[in-house]
Assembly symmetry: D2
């Protein structure tokens, strides 16, 4: 059950912490997974939220890169920069960080948040940047890019299918275009979202409601299938679909948060030279995304459909949860 509660303002615990006054945050599909009980790591009473921008309120003695008053982007992943995993750029599995905000520690859907490993988990906001756009760089764009596009090895001229046209599928769609694929085929059950996908750059769309998505896609690809199939839903049926769409030599890049096992058809895939990848976002691409944003190569605000005050956060959840009716993608929550 979700509730708006009064909490004490967080305080510095480790010397490398910062306290950030959150000015804008948002809701993620993962927050809904938590509320449904899919993520046992997150206990009742936790303040949710792992995305946002804000202003530094105070910093611990070990923080060198920021000071009170600095405007910052909060990454959904906290990274110490020093452990075995951070040393190889796999920040998602930082031994004292990773995705902990709004999961194992209190998150950003609040007036203030304590951010661990501040030097390596916050980013200074460049002068003149639109802060609403930046909220999309906390999680959804890095996740779509790293877990979907990079893992999926999207290439100039290649063929991509994205299964699921929700916010994360659309984030993959926006960032896939960094690599100029020849075709991006978007598959969903909701015609409205497929319409949005067209506006965002999908070259083809398939409504899979008739159970004939595979036939439709094979027709579009001369029976070859796709070089990259991006799973952006998180249920067995959509992962199954990806296995049927992927061409020999291709990749299935999983983004979805799965609560159940799936069936893997090794009896037909063992000799197809494919890869399947999973990933919790490392957010190593955040500096790159800041560059492409500055260069005008992407418009993250396309993803924002609604805006709420923090005090109306329950209404924001209501809107976000009922996306089929409200046509919500990402909602901005302002403090």
């Amino acid at each position: 059950m979700k509730a708006l509660e009064d909490h004490a303002k967080p305080t510095i615990i480790e010397t490398t912490d910062a306290i950030v006054r959150v000015t804008r945050t948002t809701i993620c599909g993962t927050d809904l997974h938590i509320l449904r009980g899919d993520l046992p790591s997150c206990k009742p009473g936790r303040i949710l939220g792992h995305e946002g921008v804000g202003v530094i309120d105070s910093v611990g003695s070990g923080v060198n890169a920021f000071k009170a008053g600095d405007r910052v982007l909060i990454s959904c992943v906290s990274a110490c920069g020093r452990c075995e995993f951070c040393r190889k750029g796999m920040f998602s599995h930082c031994t004292t960080g990773g995705w902990i905000l709004g999961n194992t520690i209190d998150g950003t859907q609040a007036e203030f948040v304590r951010t661990p490993h501040a030097d390596t988990s916050l980013y200074p906001i460049p002068e003149g940047t639109d802060e609403e756009a930046l909220v999309m760089l906390s999680d959804i764009l890095p996740t779509g890019f790293e877990c979907g596009v990079l893992n999926g090895k999207v290439q100039p001229g290649s063929t991509v299918a994205i299964v699921g046209a929700g916010p994360i599928g659309l984030a993959a769609l926006l960032t896939a275009q960094f690599y100029s694929p020849g075709e991006i085929i978007m598959i969903d059950l909701d015609d409205n979202r497929l319409e949005v996908a067209k506006r965002f750059g999908a070259t083809q769309t398939i409504n899979s409601g008739d159970g004939k998505a595979v036939e439709a896609l094979m027709k579009l690809t001369d029976n070859r299938g796709v070089d990259t199939a991006i799973e952006a839903v998180g249920i067995p049926a959509t992962f199954e679909l990806c296995q049927q769409l992927v061409a020999a030599g291709g990749v299935i890049a999983n983004i979805g948060v799965h609560g159940l096992p799936v069936t893997l058809h090794l009896e037909s895939l063992w000799d197809r030279n494919i890869s399947i990848t999973t990933r919790l976002v490392d957010t190593f691409c955040t500096p790159m995304l800041l560059n492409v944003l500055k260069a005008g190569k992407i418009d993250p605000k396309l993803l924002i459909t609604h805006r709420f005050k923090l005090t109306d956060i329950l209404e924001a959840y209501e809107t976000f949860e009922n996306a089929a009716r409200t046509k919500a993608l990402k909602v901005i929550i302002e403090a």
Copy 2:
């Protein structure tokens, strides 16, 4: 059912064919799969066998690289060198080749074999090379290397588990050592094969018969799991085991020929940043293997346990099929 039959000597069909007099061949685990009916592509009456060395008997008018009398290594994969897949080095999926020998066309377990795309599917045998050793370069070593070691991204100092110490698992073990991993942990049910694995370079072995292989491996790896888990059996239980062994950021490289689907635990793997790969061998590494063989970096003959005459091939199958009893790895069949 298998049988030794009298066949007409094959003749040139395409100008790019060669007829090879087979001097030595062998039996592959895949041949047993075929005899069990697991590979519907292979029809009754087919001459099996996709490995071997021999002497060119005749060549079609379009063959430039070989002439009658040349001694050659026969690759298990036929590649035209011209199609979309060959152009990107994915010879296994050549549109007019791939693994067809002893599958969709007659194979090498015979006195003569027709080899399509001869220029790009045969290799000249360097002066003075041991031809028995070369039989191991037709399939088993390239498969262990490409599907297991390369796909598995074995690296200096990394930790590898190989599930299955049969001939193909042992081929992965031999070729994994090209990259100097820190640990190679071999897992099997047969103590004899684990003993062989020790001699071939395994740093640790685990007999999984007690159902406690995961605990044993976690103890050996400080609870980290392995960077690379190579599946070299081809049944659901061993693929399941690989999912439990692989560390965050690691790879499961499937070599096994699977006849059944498997369960993929995305509910626990979605955020573990792993890859799963499948592959039919491309044999693109054959020139490299000829180089390391010449340099003495590998001894393929370690894999050879028995020798038979072609006329005794049924006995060879009997020996190969009952490996637990006969301790057979690879058997050489001489014409």
Copy 3:
């Protein structure tokens, strides 16, 4: 000295040859190098030209993929698909091919041309494709892409400088955008070409005529230099400039045909973690370019400024050689 001469129509020599009636060709900067005597491999009397489209006139008995009447794109590189180099995708160094057209054998600036290794060196022209655009896929776009963009590791958000805004530099500029770099800074002495570069997608331009290109670029990049410096001229001064522009960790990708040695400042670069690459185009990317062309991700005709009949080829050369005055980029020569 160049001349328009009467030659006998070429005939099939090898079974893998095709004779192509050339319908459109063009002139390359390399042709000018040849006329100046910079390429000793090319002997007097040679018909120049290694680019073009045409119609198959006849094929040798070993050609399977094409027949008389087929419309084809002629690659500047002939590749057997079978030798050691072709097997690893390094077609430029094919032991019986590579760049031989209009170099060591007669080329495409003629009514007919003999194309060796036809199956692997010609591409079928997809129905409805603009054949003028395709002429740009014989050499200039693959060269700009492979030698400049791919070797230069252009990445989303990265910073690129291209030294030389001639046709090849502009081809690099067009294809660099496949990867959505954050900045593409074009450097040349000719304001007209820099103006063209702006229209083609350069984010910044620098006229290096004042000898202050380095200062100007460092100002544009916060003194970091560029991740990728593409040399698209071929003289010591421009290669020297690239060494001054490249950031620590960056790449200098050489495209230019050099006639002289250059000075490499290892005394300042030894600890800068840079790479320098050279490359004769392999044209392995031709299928990809056909895909992006079909997808409308590139407009190769932007490069075409003039059109001539084959009988007016001397005038075409005159126009192409005096580009500063004529503003010529690529010229189309129609049969």
Copy 4:
């Protein structure tokens, strides 16, 4: 001029510093470069030395991974783990670190040393490790491996030439064998060092004193040249030699510290598809080296020829500088 001087014990300056009591250090070829004045970054009065092992004496308040009494390996590169360069693993160019020890700050050839960014620049010494062997992991083995072997893309079965059989060339030789190349050809002027190289695993040696090294190497490689040429000297003549040895498609990996520019023969290399790389070691491979050392895949102590007390360091320098006479490779200096 070098001198043994009395200095005050260093003290913590930044909270992330540690003071280490040095128990073993060594002398690097770079120290000789400094003494000759080749590295202007290093000013007179500086304590030299960037290698060694020791015991933590004290740590700043921001150091979490170490405490007084811990035995540690000192990396030659200090890395903050937080800057733009560290985030991408390019620790050598850390904006507040990099190679500073014994260069821009006092180094390890002393009883105590201040090590900045201690958490990310020191490594705990595993129980039971031979500390002399570990001194080889501060600089020489990571440098040989990263700058020579990794940059040089040494592969199973490939052909490698190492120009220079001094300590750093031998370190490249030892670590190249992690990848099982087919040939490692060592080139030097000193027969003694070539003899050592043979013992360390070189498959061929060439004394280049007769000016015929190119001919000799081409004979050994069937006129192909080598896939990887590692420059391990740092003078124009040896870099020139590498350009003559490298095969089409190959890499020249520079390790040498160069004081002078070199001539790059682009007039013959522009179409040879080669790469040239430079690098200051990032020491990102230190954890891997600790793994291979533990696994017994390398014996770093092969490099150690002499041992001295710290008070005899001038004699150690004398021995190291006159290697042709003393046959010194690496010298251990014990406190």
